[in-house]
């Protein structure tokens, strides 16, 4: 509201300044506008909080929770010659406001502002889908054991004589089941531009963008009893995104230069959610303390936290009209994105004490556009990008089991004591290591395209593009070292007759080693691996039955949802049948697949089509309509992961 007050104050001051001009201007209307006042009646009745997630169609409607709301708005235009001002505004609710304005002082200084506020209703997950306590006969309070035969699976539950085996069960508790979650979002964008009189070659603009989100949302975590119990609670949200920086333009002869700097800070004053976890217990009394990174003695852990970050971005663009037929464009981008919330309570998990994660992006590129002959235009372009992300030192906390079972070993000591090779244990446990980022990469793209107007009403187009991604730490992330893509595009625009145009485009791409996760799933023989954690010491410390060797290392299936082949065709037509009827039709079909996944192919079919019509059958009457259809399907191999713990 402070910002709205500033806008209104600016408008009022401007009106006061030009008062004399208004009185003096007898013939010319320099001052005009309108005011609007009214009310909205919610005829259906208020959307009550106890209706939970019933927000369909009203996700962004702030008025649904009230019976009556006021409507106030207006617009104002002032054109005095020296001072120009415009303002439009509409208030329908505290969470439904829109304003925009402009103030120009002799065009030397131009101030523009845009403010809006909206309400976003969020969902409230019931958590019922997490229920998985089907086998327990020794049921927790309030839970019912499943009985009878499942008609789909044929499995018969609780056939009698069964004792407790419900350790794989999952329960849930919603600690605030009636709360209707929502976020109120404010966005203010404004800028002031300076144009020096008689120096049109130079201008300077200062930009500022401020976004704030307030409200509450559902936050989920494990309960103090760990993963067997999921809980959700309300988290209060208060986040700001503050962005500002200058932009300057310089034109010298046939050359133009643009530079901008942007500083952005994302800060949060959200409610700090924390949870203190109990020591994990095995189903028959074994302690699992030495199998987890977190020791309850370290205090509570944060959850549902959004990290703060800070970004600085420099962007420089250059354009040179070499001659009437050839233009050169070039750009350079440097961006440094710093995560400033990776310290504090997370140190106990990562070992990354008092350090911040940074992602640096260095990108440069260029394009030459040349009209090599009448009707034929050629573009040659290229881009190089280097991404550098922080490495993180990780130190694992090697807890010891408590003395309840008389076992005080660390997990590594336990494996070795039961016959495992110390080197294999070291490799599996990795007490400390440098986490090398998967973002670190060097990427480039080069290409050429041409458009040739073969006939007065026919233009054909073609393009070839080659792109390559090279990942620095592909080996530790089990991804391809490099991905190479060849992209071909062909197209034609045909103007059949007055008012009837067709456009046809075809694209195909062939990708070598599309991004994938190697050995991501699926054991070779469908045996699902062997299980870990048998309830006796010998099996508990049997390295061959640990998750790493028994499950993760056994996986052989590469998985990806990126294609290694893409085929796409697009067709569009525009028809101005007569002065009062315009139509357009478009259709796009794309087939993409990845056949490099050891027979477990991934594929995607996408179809989009639509028709738009606009007609003016009589004067002052406009009728428009449209239909859009989208069909998107995926086919993927599904390997089930089995866990026992």
């Amino acid at each position: 509201m402070k910002r709205i007050s500033v806008l209104i104050t600016v408008a009022v001051l401007a009106l006061a300044v030009i008062g004399a001009s208004v009185c003096a201007a007898e013939d010319e209307k320099v001052f005009e506008g309108s005011l609007k006042a009214g009310a909205t009646w919610n005829a259906q009745g208020r959307l009550h909080a106890d209706e939970g997630g019933s927000k369909g169609g009203l996700e962004y409607n702030a008025l649904a929770a009230k019976r009556w709301t006021g409507v106030f708005g207006g617009d104002l235009r002032v054109n005095s010659g020296v001072l120009d001002l415009s303002f439009d505004g509409l208030y329908r609710d505290l969470n439904d406001q829109d304003y925009e304005g402009m103030l120009s002082l002799g065009r030397v200084m131009v101030y523009k502002a845009d403010y809006n506020r909206l309400y976003h209703r969020l969902g409230h997950v019931s958590l019922d889908n997490l229920e998985a306590h089907v086998f327990s006969t020794n049921k927790p309070k309030g839970q019912k054991p499943r009985t009878g035969t499942d008609p789909e699976t044929g499995i018969t539950y609780n056939t009698g004589g069964a004792n407790t085996i419900g350790t794989a069960s999952v329960y849930h508790t919603d600690r605030d089941p009636t709360n209707q979650y929502a976020i109120s979002r404010e966005l203010l964008k404004h800028s002031v531009a300076f144009h020096i009189p008689n120096v049109p070659e130079f201008d300077l603009t200062l930009h500022h963008r401020f976004e704030q989100r307030k409200g509450d949302r559902q936050a989920m975590t494990n309960s103090k009893c760990r993963a067997c119990h999921i809980v959700s609670d309300t988290k209060e949200i208060k986040e700001t995104n503050n962005e500002f920086g200058p932009e300057l333009n310089l034109r010298i002869g046939t050359m133009a230069f643009n530079y901008s700097f942007m500083h952005r800070e994302f800060n949060t004053d959200d409610q700090e959610m924390e949870n203190l976890y109990n020591n994990t217990k095995g189903k028959v009394g074994e302690d699992f303390l030495n199998r987890v990174q977190y020791n309850s003695a370290s205090g509570p852990l944060p959850y549902a936290e959004v990290p703060e970050n800070r970004r600085n971005k420099h962007n420089a663009k250059f354009r040179w009209d070499i001659n009437g037929h050839t233009t050169l464009n070039a750009f350079y981008l440097y961006s440094n994105n710093k995560n400033t919330s990776t310290r504090g309570a997370y140190d106990v998990l990562t070992g990354n004490y008092d350090d911040s994660l940074k992602l640096k992006d260095n990108t440069f590129g260029g394009r030459i556009t040349a009209r090599v002959m009448p009707g034929l235009t050629v573009n040659i372009f290229g881009k190089y990008q280097a991404l550098d992300n922080s490495d993180v030192y990780v130190e694992k906390v090697q807890n010891r089991n408590n003395t309840k079972s008389g076992d005080t070993m660390t997990l590594a000591e336990g494996y070795i004591a039961h016959g495992a090779d110390p080197a294999a244990v070291e490799e599996y446990i990795e007490p400390e290591y440098e986490r090398l980022s998967g973002y670190d990469s060097n990427n480039f793209k080069v290409g050429v395209n041409a458009a040739w107007r073969v006939l007065r009403n026919l233009k054909i187009k073609g393009e070839y593009e080659f792109a390559e991604e090279n990942r620095d730490h592909y080996d530790v992330h089990s991804v391809p070292e490099s991905t190479k893509e060849h992209l071909f595009k062909f197209g034609a625009d045909y103007h059949l007759m007055h008012g009837l145009k067709f456009a046809l485009d075809y694209k195909m791409a062939f990708i070598d080693d599309a991004y994938r996760l190697n050995n991501a799933s699926c054991t070779p023989d469908g045996s699902y691996g062997r299980y870990a954690s048998k309830p006796n010491a010998a099996d508990f410390y049997d390295l061959d039955r640990a998750y790493g060797p028994a499950i993760y290392d056994k996986r052989t299936g590469d998985r990806s949802n990126r294609p290694d082949q893409i085929y796409e065709v697009k067709f569009r037509t525009y028809w101005n049948a007569m002065s009062m009827l315009n139509t357009s039709f478009h259709v796009k079909y794309r087939y993409s697949k990845n056949g490099e996944l050891d027979g477990r192919d991934w594929s995607n079919n996408l179809l989009m089509t639509g028709l738009n019509i606009m007609a003016n059958p009589i004067r002052n009457l406009t009728i428009s309509g449209g239909y859009t259809y989208m069909y998107d399907s995926y086919d993927s191999q599904y390997c089930i992961a089995i866990y026992d713990g």
Binding site: S34, Q44, L58, V134, N163, K534, G626, Y627, S633
Partner: protein, 141 residues
């Protein structure tokens, strides 16, 4: 495993200026959204093939012989239902405004929204209907 989504969307708008100072506008949109994972049908993997687990289960007194089912992939059959998406939304509005010679104008708008959630999931049944009537006065200067 196949997964698909599809959407139909119809929109229409009519704007008519009946008189120089009287106009009427109406908007209509109808959206249908569907999505689904094909039915999963895993065969039961019992016995698990893990001889040690099976042996333990079968020979240990007091243990439930159904224990291997805890890890049976067939138990996942049915999760495809969680993916089902089936809804339609209709939005309709009509409004008119009339400007008097003195610069004073009046306006009246009606808004209707109907949402059918035919396959509720984690957020519950999101279906509802809403109607709003907005009246206002304007003054142009």
């Amino acid at each position: 495993m196949d997964y698909y989504t599809e959407a139909h969307s119809f929109v229409a708008n009519i704007a008519y200026q009946i008189l120089p100072n009287w106009n009427i506008t109406t908007d209509f949109s109808w959206t249908i959204g569907r999505g689904d994972i094909d039915k999963l049908d895993f065969d039961s993997m019992y016995p698990t093939g893990d001889a040690k687990l099976d042996a333990y289960t079968m020979t240990s007194a007091g243990q439930n012989p159904l224990q291997p089912y805890l890890y049976d992939v067939a138990y996942i059959n049915g999760i495809d239902k969680y993916s089902n998406l089936d809804y339609q939304q209709i939005d309709f509005s009509i409004g008119t405004s009339y400007m008097l010679d003195s610069g004073v104008g009046i306006g009246l708008n009606y808004y209707f929204t109907h949402f059918d959630d035919d396959d509720p999931y984690v957020y519950g049944d999101e279906g509802n209907t809403a109607q709003f009537v907005m009246g206002y006065l304007t003054y142009a200067f």
